[in-house]
């Protein structure tokens, strides 16, 4: 379960939020475009964390939900001329429905089997869209409008305003998911991830929890898709492709699943790196793959895991210091703050 208030997590989230807002204000146009992309990926990665980090259901098909959200919004606005609130609602409803269906179809799959099943379902969306002439096939759909907020004095066509809005929305998603995961629901999800058999033995059927988590996760990913469509004002089938899902998964793992803020950090870091290396190499995948391998190799706890270890080490050193100061004699018996072990995405599981 996520602790509702964890100082480190909250601090990091605040830092990310402030850095984002500051960047939106001071960055150049290109920087703000990157920032908006970071926010979109952060939302998708946090949605994925709900599955990968808590019930340890490593979904490789999140592109399906992102794509459905993006195309739902794009089709409703650009093709059918719907108003933006209605289009957003439709997109969220469709991605929630997709989450529900995928959750139901995979309710008995675990671990590697779950990876394979979600991978395949994600790819189903890709094939569908690529072959659909109405949806623009390979070319995607252009002319997707951003919401009209002139009534509020906001112009989302302005990149600073748009990036600021996306950063704030990412923060809102973070808060909502944090609340959800700090509840009994979150506790059950974690228990399912640790030992599904034991959860059953306690008389709780894991199925409904898993389906609910997939639905919420799919909706969040769909929301990220809506924002992606608004951001680039264009949608392409790439959003559905399984390698795209793999990229989001890499961000989440690199940042550290099970912490919510970790995937957001991972998204920001990966997007930044992508643009940083694009200046001198066109082989970005080399780095992405290397990061993923390193992240799982080192235990799958990601950047946030390192921060937690750093904190634990600091606490140990500090308490030892205090004790030494207070007593001046035995330093052997340190007050070890019991530190909850947070296994990474890959660790543990039943055999």
């Amino acid at each position: 379960m996520l602790r509702l208030f964890d100082p480190l997590r909250t601090l990091l989230a605040l830092l990310l939020l402030l850095a984002g807002l500051w960047w939106a204000r001071t960055g150049d146009y290109f920087g703000r475009e990157i920032l908006a992309e970071m926010a979109v990926f952060a939302i998708a990665a946090m949605g994925l964390d709900l599955l990968a980090g808590f019930p340890r259901l490593v979904s490789m098909g999140h592109g399906l939900f992102v794509g459905i959200g993006a195309y739902g919004y794009a089709v409703a606005t650009a093709l059918w001329g719907w108003s933006w609130p209605a289009a957003i609602l439709l997109a969220l409803a469709l991605s929630a429905l997709a989450g529900l269906l995928v959750g139901l179809a995979t309710v008995r799959a675990r671990d590697v089997f779950y990876i394979m099943a979600t991978l395949a379902f994600g790819q189903m969306g890709y094939v569908w869209v690529v072959r659909s002439a109405e949806l623009g096939g390979d070319d995607g759909l252009a002319g997707v409008p951003r919401p009209e907020l002139a009534a509020l004095g906001l112009d989302l066509g302005d990149s600073a305003t748009f990036a600021t809005l996306l950063v704030l929305l990412a923060a809102a998603v973070y808060l909502l998911l944090g609340r959800l995961l700090a509840s009994g629901f979150g506790r059950t999800l974690v228990a399912i991830g640790q030992n599904e058999r034991r959860v059953r033995a306690l008389g709780i059927a894991p199925g409904p929890y898993r389906v609910a988590a997939t639905t919420v996760s799919g909706t969040v990913a769909g929301f990220a898709g809506v924002l992606a469509a608004m951001h680039s004002m264009y949608v392409s089938p790439e959003l559905f492709h399984w390698t795209w899902s793999g990229e989001v998964l890499t961000m989440a793992i690199l940042g550290g699943v099970g912490s919510l803020v970790g995937p957001a950090l991972g998204a920001a870091a990966v997007v930044w790196l992508k643009y940083a290396v694009s200046g001198w190499t066109e082989y970005w995948g080399l780095f992405l793959g290397l990061f993923l391998i390193l992240a799982v190799w080192t235990g799958g706890q990601g950047l946030y895991g390192y921060l937690e270890r750093l904190r634990a080490w600091l606490l140990r050193t500090l308490t030892r210091q205090e004790e030494a100061d207070a007593r001046g004699d035995r330093t052997g018996q340190t007050l070890r703050r019991s530190h909850r072990h947070r296994p990474g995405v890959a660790a543990g599981g039943e055999g």
Partner: protein, 288 residues
């Protein structure tokens, strides 16, 4: 829609099935042994095609490419396994699987760097370049060769798994890995051997597919999904499952395109969804 037309579709379906079989059999046995799936399996398929292309260019012999590429790819797989996957034993199977996803990302780029972005032509051997008359039907000889090769692989693998001591060990380890180990089977070594063997088969499929589809870096990423569907539909860890799964996926996909063109490509996913719902274990799981 004459009889010849349907016969052609039938042969196309069979040929696609055979390709899927050679691809999926290694994957499914490895999965059965250790609950591990190599997401880079398609990458080895593409690598096989590229290495085969280079061998063909260097030696001019298709047959040398057909034999050499799988051997080289098996060696590469062995090195990657030893350097990476074996060392991640403690991190768990899921970590190993995710590491192979990293290999997918890296593999595409490595192939782009070495062989470039464009599709390369790969000529069938002169012996198989023509067409064959068959029940009043003209069919490319090379595609018949693919079918024959797939059938041969099926029989050979069946003999290996069902009729040899090694095969009995593999089956036992797939059934109950712990019990096999408690009898003295080195399950980790079997796993390593099957992993490399599976990658060699993927490379073989890559070379075989090359004259039909040409060779390009993304080919492995595309083939992975149908291969995984075969594994899931057929059931994990069993040869019978790989046979049934590849035939089902091959035929459903081919005839789906013909009979339901508006749903082209989607029908296999419906097959997958149905299987997951009705028989989550797949058709012929090794561990019933």
């Amino acid at each position: 829609m004459t009889a010849a037309y349907w016969l052609t579709q039938l042969l196309n379906a069979l040929q696609y099935s055979m390709l899927l079989f050679v691809l999926s059999v290694g994957l499914t046995v490895v999965f059965g042994l250790m609950n591990f799936v190599n997401l880079a399996h398609g990458t080895f398929y593409a690598l096989g095609a590229f290495i085969g292309w280079s061998l063909l260019r260097a030696t001019g012999s298709f047959w040398l490419a057909l034999v050499g590429a799988p051997l080289l790819v098996a060696a590469i797989a062995a090195v990657l396994y030893g350097a990476m996957i074996a060392r991640m034993q403690r991190a768990g199977h899921l970590a190993q699987v995710l590491a192979t996803l990293g290999l997918v990302f890296m593999g595409v780029e490595v192939m782009r760097i070495i062989w470039g972005d464009f599709a390369l032509d790969f000529a069938a051997p002169p012996l198989l370049q023509g067409h064959v008359q068959l029940f009043g039907l003209v069919y490319p000889a090379y595609r018949l060769f693919v079918i024959a090769l797939g059938l041969l692989a099926m029989v050979a693998l069946w003999l290996l798994l069902e009729r040899t001591a090694l095969g009995a060990m593999v089956r036992a380890a797939v059934d109950h890995a712990d019990m096999a180990a408690a009898l003295g089977v080195r399950v980790d070594r079997l796993f390593f051997g099957m992993f490399c063997f599976g990658c060699a088969l993927a490379a073989l499929a890559g070379v075989v597919a090359a004259p039909i589809f040409s060779v390009y870096p993304g080919m492995g990423i595309e083939i992975l999904i149908p291969t995984l569907i075969v594994v899931v539909v057929g059931g994990l860890g069993s040869l019978k499952g790989a046979v049934a799964g590849s035939l089902l996926v091959g035929f459903v996909d081919t005839f789906g395109q013909v009979l339901l063109p508006q749903l082209a490509g989607i029908v296999v996913y419906a097959l997958l969804a149905l299987t997951l719902l009705l028989r989550p274990q797949g058709l012929f799981p090794a561990r019933a």
